[in-house]
């Protein structure tokens, strides 16, 4: 052991020393290069950078230093562990050498720029080319190699440049350009490299389809490689010459060649195919294998060829070809089993393809290309099918994968069939894991919304029944039972559904909700079929406890029974057979088996039917029964019908019944928020009033408050009641009602006229104080309404304006009392006084006009116009007594200036009131007085009492 250790140490140390020595020597060299650079720089400076040799030398030195550093950097870089190397910035490790390459470039470029005819310019170009190559700038490297290959005088540099350039062309696929360069430089640099360069030359010829030349050179390369004097390129030649021969259609020569060197040509061709596949030359590889397959007779080798084909098809993703070849080989295997290694490779290929294609179908890449995705899925399934053939034991599993692939691609129908098949296989093989996986898959597939209903229907039962064959009690089984039940029900397989229901009841006896739902469906089925016996049988089974149901469901069952009972009658009604319907409803109502609901329903329908038949009395009778038995909500629901019946009763003068029905409705709907409640309320009041039952009306009105009838509706009926109370002179009730109404300030303008009724009564009984109080109240209400801009009834306006007219009349009377007479001073005073009164009257008219009462306005105008005209004419016709005619003439002339404007004003007022009448459509008894002058009195006819105006007739 110690001896070994010592040996190791010695070896290690010497290796270390060697390493050190290389480093040390390199550093010494770099030290010398630095000295050289320093000297060259000094020299060049001295020469003012005008000597190209010196600059060229500088470039060479930088290049040398760069290469040395690059070597060191390479070693350093390669000494870093691979993992770490991936994470670091490579450029940082080569920074120093890169800078030096650039310095070399700078110097060389300076020479090129300043001394384009420099005798060593070719060498300068070579340095530039080399530098650019090192710096990774292929374009410039190529450019300068090209220049160097033309301009260098140094045969070695010439050859190097040409070879480098040829390699560039070769790699750029410019074989035509590469060939002359290879030919000119092959073997020039170093004889032993002839084979390597000639090899590239051969390839160039091959690329240009000069196959014979290419083969000839290859053979020479092969020949020379044997001698040991040259770089041995034999393996490359043996690898590539096959494809040359193939492309040259010289397969026989290829076979001869390989046989000549004792190589099995099929193996060679397979090897060549694999090798060129690695170079990405799929087409050639494929062609090659196809050719060799044709010539090969040995089945085992044919199998190898197919396996090689599979290999290249796989590498180049030629799935259709791969699948075809796989199928071929699987068929061969089934006929004559393959060797184990061949079988393993085939199995690997098939399973790998299947797995990869399946993965591809689920990848995001193909999500947006459904067509391609579906294609991949189909191929994957085909591979799984092949895999199943290769390994029958794994068949359920492979089919499961097929199903999964189909599922992933959205081929749910296909997947369901496959899941079912795989499930059955797995179950037979007791593979519980696969059984469960299949169940999951098929349930999921079945739940896909895109699955057609038809397909789903087809698979519900097979899937659910398979599931329940495995799991009966789980939560999931619970839902599956329901789904199965529903499917069976939908497929109208009621017997199966009833069986599922029975199974469910056994597995989940306490889940009465689900049982109820299932029962409901079953019973509904029988009900529809009018198989009431079956329904009743189920009811019996429920009652016997075979099925557990809730109380609610029990009610529902009863409802169902009602429905069954009503149903027949309803059908008669739908057909228009009202008599049969009436009979049916009467039977339901009277039958002891009928449920209360059915009875109520029957009573309502009887009311409606009798109403339609015009039998108001019976309609009213059944309505009262129905209203009594019906739920409030039902009354609200059918309130329109009840209102219609009440209206029908009213129209047929059945006021008491109509009012009663409305009242009953109101009582029923009292606490309901229904619009028909108000209608019923108003109807009840108005019909009572119409029937002269004021007290009942008042009673209903007051009841409205309890039922939260809105104030405006109560006010509306109150104002109607007021009218009947006045008519019946029930002043106490009147006062009370009006007092109630007064509580709402909005009613104020509406109360002005009713109050006038009361005031008149106060005056009639001598209660002047009360009357006066009412008067003030009316005035206040009016002013209040005006200030609040509330609507005031026209009657109220007329009332207020008529009160204001009394002032006008009083002034008019005063005006007429003032007499015109002489002497002059009295006359003047009288005129003055009259003019003042006229002025006051005009103010009063303006005030009345503001009330908006048409009647009042016309009346007021009438009085004022009369006053003006009368005064004007009085002045016009006045003749002072006892005066000389001259005086009289002078007086009248002077008076003309007074009476003319007065009469003009009267005319003007006539025009004004005329406009007002027409514009505001005022209808007033005084219209005639103001619209027509005395001269037009003939237009007015006063007829005999009771006379009526006849229609004039006309052109018709």
């Amino acid at each position: 052991m110690l001896k070994h250790l010592l040996l190791f140490l010695i070896i290690f140390q010497s290796a270390f020393a060697a390493k050190l020595s290389i480093d040390e020597r390199r550093r010494k060299i770099i030290g010398i290069v630095d000295e050289e650079l320093s000297e060259v720089t000094r020299l060049s400076k001295q020469q003012s950078n005008k000597v190209p040799d010196t600059l060229f030398r500088m470039a060479e030195l930088y290049l040398e230093k760069a290469r040395l550093y690059r070597e060191m950097e390479n070693e350093q870089y390669l000494s870093i562990p691979v993992d770490r190397r991936k994470t670091i910035n490579k450029n940082e490790y080569f920074e120093r050498s890169s800078k030096l390459f650039q310095e070399a470039n700078k110097a060389a470029l300076l020479v090129e720029k300043r001394f384009p005819k420099y005798r060593n310019i070719g060498d300068v170009h070579y340095i530039l080319a080399y530098n650019y190559q090192e710096l990774g700038n292929k374009k410039l490297a190529q450019k300068y190699f090209s220049l160097a290959s033309r301009s260098s005088k140094d045969p070695k540099i010439l050859a190097k440049s040409r070879l480098a350039l040829a390699d560039y062309y070769y790699h750029d696929h410019k074989y035509k350009e590469a060939i002359p360069l290879y030919e000119a430089s092959v073997g020039k640099l170093d004889e032993k490299w002839w084979t390597r360069d000639a090899f590239n030359l051969a390839w160039s010829y091959y690329r240009l389809r000069n196959y014979d030349k290419a083969i000839s050179i290859m053979l020479e390369v092969h020949q020379k490689s044997r001698t040991g004097k040259y770089v041995d390129m034999r393996s490359s030649v043996e690898r590539d010459i096959g494809i040359f021969y193939v492309d040259a259609r010289r397969m026989d020569d290829a076979i001869k060649f390989y046989e000549g060197i004792n190589l099995n040509y099929t193996e060679q061709f397979i090897r060549i195919a694999n090798a060129i596949v690695a170079q990405g030359r799929f087409e050639q590889a494929e062609k090659l294998l196809e050719q060799v397959k044709k010539t090969e007779k040995d089945q085992n080798r044919i199998n190898e060829i197919i396996l090689a084909q599979l290999n290249i098809f796989e590498k180049f993703n030629r799935t259709p070809q791969h699948l075809k070849a796989s199928k071929e080989l699987v068929a061969i295997h089934k006929k004559t089993p393959l060797e184990k290694s061949q079988f393993d490779r085939l199995s690997f290929q098939v399973n790998k393809q299947a797995a990869e294609l399946q993965k591809a179908t689920t990848s995001k890449v193909y999500q947006s290309v459904p067509k391609a995705r579906r294609q991949k899925a189909k191929e994957a399934m085909a591979y799984f099918a092949l895999a199943a053939e290769l390994d029958p034991k794994e068949r359920p599993e492979k089919i499961f994968y097929q199903a999964e692939t189909a599922y992933a691609t959205g081929l749910y129908s296909r997947s369901l069939a496959l899941y079912v098949e795989s499930f059955d296989g797995a179950k037979a093989a007791n593979n519980s894991k696969l059984v469960n996986q299949n169940l999951e898959g098929m349930l999921s597939a079945l739940g896909q919304p895109s699955l057609s209903k038809k397909t789903a229907n087809k698979f519900y039962v097979p899937v659910y029944s398979r599931y329940l064959s495995v799991d009966k009690k789980s939560e999931r089984a619970k839902t599956i039972y329901v789904k199965l039940f529903n499917s069976q029900y939908d497929l109208k397989d009621i017997t199966a559904a009833e069986q599922t229901l029975a199974e469910y009841a056994k597995s989940f006896p306490r889940d009465f909700k689900t049982q109820e739902a299932m029962l409901a469906k079953v019973m509904e089925h029988y009900r529809k079929k009018k198989d009431y016996g079956a329904v009743k049988a189920y009811v019996g089974r429920i009652n016997a406890g075979e099925f557990k149901v809730s109380k609610k469901y029990a009610n529902a069952l009863r409802s169902l029974m009602t429905k069954i009972q009503i149903e027949g009658v309803q059908q008669s009604l739908d057909k228009g057979d009202k008599a049969v319907a009436l009979q049916g409803y009467h039977q339901i109502y009277e039958s002891p088996e009928s449920t209360p609901k059915a009875k109520t329903n029957a009573s309502y329908n009887l009311a409606a039917l009798y109403y339609e038949l015009g039998d108001t009395q019976k309609s009213y009778q059944w309505s009262t029964i129905a209203l009594k038995d019906m739920e409030v909500s039902e009354v609200a629901k059918f309130s329109d019908s009840f209102l219609s019946i009440a209206a029908g009763l009213f129209l047929r003068q059945q006021f008491a019944q109509s009012s009663d029905l409305s009242h009953r409705m109101l009582a029923k709907l009292c606490n309901q928020n229904s619009s028909n409640k108000v209608v019923a309320y108003k109807n009840a009041v108005f019909i009572a009033l119409a029937n002269g039952e004021v007290s009942k009306a008042i009673e209903i009105k007051d009841y409205g408050k309890q039922c939260h009838i809105q104030d405006n509706a109560i006010s509306e009926v109150s104002f109607e009641i007021l009218k009947d109370l006045a008519r019946e002179r029930r002043w106490e009730a009147y006062e009370k009602t009006i007092a109630d109404l007064e509580k709402n300030s909005k009613n104020a303008p509406l109360l002005i006229v009713p109050y006038e009724e009361l005031r008149t009564q106060y005056l009639a009984i001598g209660s002047e104080n009360e009357a006066h109080a009412v008067y003030r109240k009316q005035t206040r209400f009016y002013e209040q309404a005006r200030s609040q801009k509330l609507d005031i009834p026209v009657e109220a306006l007329d009332l207020i304006s008529s009160r204001m007219l009394s002032s006008v009349l009083e002034k008019k009377a005063r005006l007429e009392k003032v007499e015109l007479k002489f002497p002059e001073s009295i006359f003047n005073s009288a005129v003055k006084q009259k003019l003042q009164i006229l002025d006051q009257m005009t103010s009063d008219v303006n005030a009345i006009q503001k009330t908006g009462s048409g009647k009042g306005i016309v009346e007021a105008y009438k009085y004022v116009i009369e006053a003006y005209e009368k005064f004007g004419n009085e002045l016009k016709s006045f003749i002072p007594e006892g005066k000389a005619p001259e005086y009289v003439a002078s007086f009248q002339k002077a008076m003309a200036d007074v009476h003319r404007p007065i009469l003009e004003n009267a005319k003007k007022q006539r025009r004004e009131i005329k406009n007002l009448i027409y514009k505001n459509n005022i209808l007033s008894l005084s219209n005639y007085s103001v619209l027509y002058s005395e001269l037009e009195s003939f237009k007015r006819y006063i007829t005999e009492k009771e006379a009526v105006l006849m229609d004039r007739g006309g052109k018709q």
């Binding site: 010494k28 060299i29 010398i32």
Partner: protein, 468 residues
């Protein structure tokens, strides 16, 4: 490396004698015709007035459309002997080409050499016979031209002729003439060695260089060439040894940046990188700033030649400059052959000026005084231009040396680096050893004891082991 080939001026023997008075007589008669002019010139030259007559000779050459007659030619040769060729180099080529004078043709050929018209230059001087007094110099020039034309055999032949003719004639003339011929002789040996060097026959060149005696005027600069020659023979220890000689105080006037470059290069070749680096760094440390200052100095003064003349005058009077580098360069220029010749001519012209002033006043005297003043002024300007050119050249050498140093350093670094890329073996150090010294037939071995003796200059050698 052999960037500069110095062509020394030469002395030409006078052929006639006349008198000042005779000249004045001719001048006094007021004859200003071309023929009268000619006579005056000849008489003045004959009377030893070589400088004051120069403007008239140049004028005569320009105006006289024909070739010079023999008497006039002889007079011109005499003048050139004393003044040197400089005053005549400014004449247009069209004028110079009219002359049949060997001396004028020599001047013209030099002009053409500068213009790199080597064949045309050869053509101009090819007709000058070997008998001509200027022939050793013409042979020298021809050797140089053939070298430029990359005709080593012809070049070598001409340099050998130059050596032979210079040798042959150096005992015949005056001392001054002899000295010129000795210098010409030594330069031609150097030329021969250079041709051999250029033909990569380094060993032969080595031996040829050793033929130049240490006492020769040209030897100090040849030492550097020898160092290069050794370098090319990869005898770096010898190179370093040659170069170390420049450190001797006797050579303090030499300012040659390239020596340091070669030194660094040699160290590098022996893979003694630290030594090479140190040489480079020392060079940069010592000279980078001074060289920048020098550049600024030169740019600031542009072509103010009188300034440079005065600068040298101050230097000669031992007035130190602010910049030691400038003093060093000036010291180097002072020892330059061409500078010495021009300076001598200037002094001679001034001497002649003083002589003329002593003559009785006359129209000719006044004219001659004016002439000699003009010439002296020309000399000063030329000297100033030469000094500036020398400084500019030194700056250029420095600039080039800095680059060279940088390249060496880069090469050193590249080699060190290459070693690291390939191997990490570092050899043990042991620097000096006699066994690393290589010798040839003409070199003897002295024990290296670290001492320097003037007569040992150029013979030092290093004994460093290469670390490559």
């Amino acid at each position: 490396m052999f960037s500069k080939i110095v062509l020394a001026s030469f002395l030409i023997i006078p052929t006639a004698w006349s008198s000042y008075e005779s000249a004045e007589r001719q001048y006094g008669k007021g004859s200003i015709s071309l023929s009268g002019y000619r006579r005056t010139i000849i008489e003045l030259v004959n009377s030893g007035h070589y400088y004051s007559v120069v403007p008239w000779i140049k004028d005569y050459i320009v105006k006289n459309k024909k070739s010079l007659d023999s008497e006039m030619e002889a007079a011109l040769d005499t003048v050139l002997y004393h003044t040197g060729v400089k005053p005549f180099e400014s004449l247009p080529e069209s004028i110079l080409s009219r002359s049949r004078s060997g001396n004028i043709k020599y001047i013209l050929a030099k002009r053409l050499l500068k213009k790199e018209e080597y064949n045309q230059a050869l053509k101009e001087i090819s007709g000058v016979s070997a008998d001509h007094t200027a022939y050793p110099f013409i042979a020298h020039l021809k050797g140089t031209l053939y070298s430029h034309l990359n005709k080593p055999e012809e070049a070598e032949s001409n340099f050998k002729e130059c050596i032979a003719y210079s040798q042959k004639r150096m005992n015949k003339g005056s001392n001054a003439q002899k000295e010129q011929l000795i210098i010409n002789h030594d330069y031609c040996i150097a030329g021969l060695a250079r041709v051999q060097f250029a033909s990569k026959d380094y060993k032969k060149a080595d031996l040829t260089y050793l033929d130049i005696p240490k006492e020769s005027f040209v030897w100090p600069e040849i030492l550097f060439e020898e160092a290069w020659n050794s370098y090319y023979q990869r005898n770096y220890n010898r190179t370093l040894g040659k170069l170390i000689s420049y450190k001797a105080p006797i050579f303090d006037f030499i300012f040659k940046p390239e020596t340091e470059v070669l030194k660094a290069l040699s160290y590098m070749k022996m893979c003694l990188y630290e030594d090479a680096n140190k040489t480079v760094d020392d060079f940069y440390n010592d000279l980078l700033k001074p060289s920048r200052d020098l550049r600024r100095f030169l740019l600031a003064r542009t072509k103010d030649y009188r300034f440079y003349y005065n600068l040298m005058a101050d230097h000669e009077e031992n007035k130190a400059s602010d910049q030691p580098l400038i003093d060093h360069i000036l010291k180097s220029i002072r020892r330059d052959g061409a500078f010495i010749e021009m300076k001598g001519a200037l002094l001679a012209s001034l001497s002649e000026y003083n002589e003329i002033r002593k003559k009785p006043k006359s129209g000719m005297r006044e004219a001659l005084i004016k002439n000699v003043r003009t010439l002296a002024e020309e000399y000063r300007t030329t000297l100033g231009a030469y000094i500036r050119a020398g400084m500019v050249n030194k700056y250029a050498e420095l600039y080039s040396a800095f680059q060279g140093m940088s390249y060496i350093k880069l090469e050193v670094l590249a080699q060190r680096k290459e070693r690291l890329y390939q191997t990490d073996v570092i050899p043990g150090k042991k620097r000096g050893d006699v066994k690393y010294i290589e010798r040839n037939d003409k070199q003897y071995f002295w024990t290296f004891n670290g001492e320097f003796w003037a007569d040992e200059l150029g013979d030092y050698v290093f004994a460093l082991r290469s670390e490559c």
